[in-house]
Subunit: 298 residues, 2 copies
């Protein structure tokens, strides 16, 4: 059971976990996914919880990233401050089982009034960089429950900002007065583009959200447009935060993450006049895990 | 059982209802409140549901306002479009029981791209106006689940804008990643003022919300400040929408509604350099109900 024979890379989040078996040459040979996120594991229960992964994918060393390294996870892996590269992450791995289970630290931003944290995205972003999928100077948009806008400078994570766009969309969809309007998946339709436009141009998100309902009540907008428009509105507002500042103007823009989300963000970025490269977050995660495993072996 | 002998005024909302017995001379003689909002009443169940109010407060005519007039209520009372005054509301009462139970219509805004609706607040605002508590030209802020900013012009509701600030605060508090930080009631502390300041100055609400959590994780802000700061942040952002436009500069600013909320909004308005008159929404509602009953009698 040595790293040279291969390893299992785990992206262990709050509500889900994904595990991938990578052979010694880096090839993906098997994978699994289940709903056993860290919140479903009791304190002290991680050694047991990890057994089900090994039973399924083999008794190999493991490299874990995501919320598994948070203060609610298995062992806390303290944040590496920006600017951060893959070398620093490798140097600060925390071993949950010596030599067998390494946990990748998250990255923090703590500079003057700015404060932010990430856990998991850093492996994807620095992995994409290591694999040459992204250049060393880029603006990366990583949509998800907590969208991240990450500035890469000279091959390092220089800074980033988290926007709670995905979480708000979920809250609205599950618990708000708009819930019954937000059925179905959002797509990049004409209504979506109109929402993006409004979000980019106007600074009135919480008012415009109510207008969606009012326009439908007053028969001014078809009900079928509500979901796409609202999704566009939220993403447009998100872009206004993410594209702000001088850095946003330079270098390439990348949308990285789950393809159904990067597709929406790339469409919104196009509406804002920016062409984005889309990168599958899973592919980027595996690239990052491979590179970290190499550094462990070295 | 005639209006001259007195009546019962009911503010029947989505999740609660309040009923007040007013004598022939307008004096408040009894009141009740319970959790039987319209969502707890099945279709066709309103005649039964109203019996419990009559049993408690007497067999008197009733005047009802709020969501009871919506398409999920007893009988739908179509919106009166802006500009709207108390006369129009009286002329468009809908009778759920002829001569016995009148339902007050809500007010709508449907002008070009603007669309908005209210049900319940109009009785308070026009009531305060009728009672001389507010001047005929004013900007009224009515905090609640759905905050309303209402422009009064020459004694009429000229326009208004709803901001989902209260609902977002509740969603964050009950279901979000910030939930454990948002315990306790928010108060107008120094942290609250800092949040208001940020909300007034910066257009990054959904990012700043995540920063609250990040600053606490990184030890940059005391956890005890989170609730006040977040409340201030949301209210500051709300004010930026409400105080926008030329109208906002002229006339008095009024904060009307539940005293624990008008107190917070008045504090935030002070931070924005505006002194607000606070008016208890219940008092204003009773003033409006009395005036409408007079118009019914006439």
């Amino acid at each position: 059971m040595s790293w040279a024979e291969g390893f299992i890379a785990v992206d262990w989040g709050t509500t889900n976990r994904r595990a991938y078996r990578l052979a010694g040459d880096g090839a993906l040979s098997d994978e699994m996914e289940d709903g056993l996120g860290i919140l479903s594991v009791e304190s002290g229960g991680f050694p047991d919880s990890v057994r089900t992964i090994r039973e399924r994918l083999g008794d190999l060393p493991m490299l874990m990233a995501g919320m598994i390294g948070s203060n609610r996870g298995w062992v806390e892996a303290p944040y590496v401050p920006c600017p951060a590269a893959l070398d620093e992450l490798a140097a600060r791995l925390v071993w949950a089982e010596p030599g067998r289970v390494a946990i990748v630290p998250g990255v923090s931003l703590d500079r003057g009034g700015e404060a932010d944290v990430m856990r998991g995205e850093e492996v994807q972003i620095l992995g994409a960089l290591a694999a040459g999928l992204v250049g060393g100077d880029a603006l990366v948009c990583h949509p998800g429950t907590h969208n991240k806008w990450i500035r890469l400078e000279r091959g390092r994570i220089a800074g980033f900002r988290t926007v709670m766009t995905g979480e708000l969309f979920n809250l609205l969809r599950e618990h708000s007065i708009l819930a019954d309007l937000l059925d179905g998946p959002a797509g990049p339709s004409r209504a979506f583009a109109a929402g993006v436009r409004h979000g980019l141009d106007e600074d009135d998100l919480l008012a415009e959200l109510f207008s969606v309902r009012a326009r439908i009540l007053l028969g001014k907008q078809p009900r079928e447009e509500a979901c796409d428009y609202t999704s566009g509105l939220l993403i447009g507002s998100d872009l206004r935060v993410g594209l702000r500042g001088a850095e946003a103007g330079a270098g390439e823009v990348v949308a990285m993450g789950r393809p159904e989300l990067t597709r929406l963000f790339a469409a919104a970025l196009r509406e804002a006049g920016r062409e984005a490269i889309e990168i599958d977050g899973e592919k980027a995660f595996l690239a990052g895990a491979r590179k970290l495993a190499e550094l462990v072996k070295a």
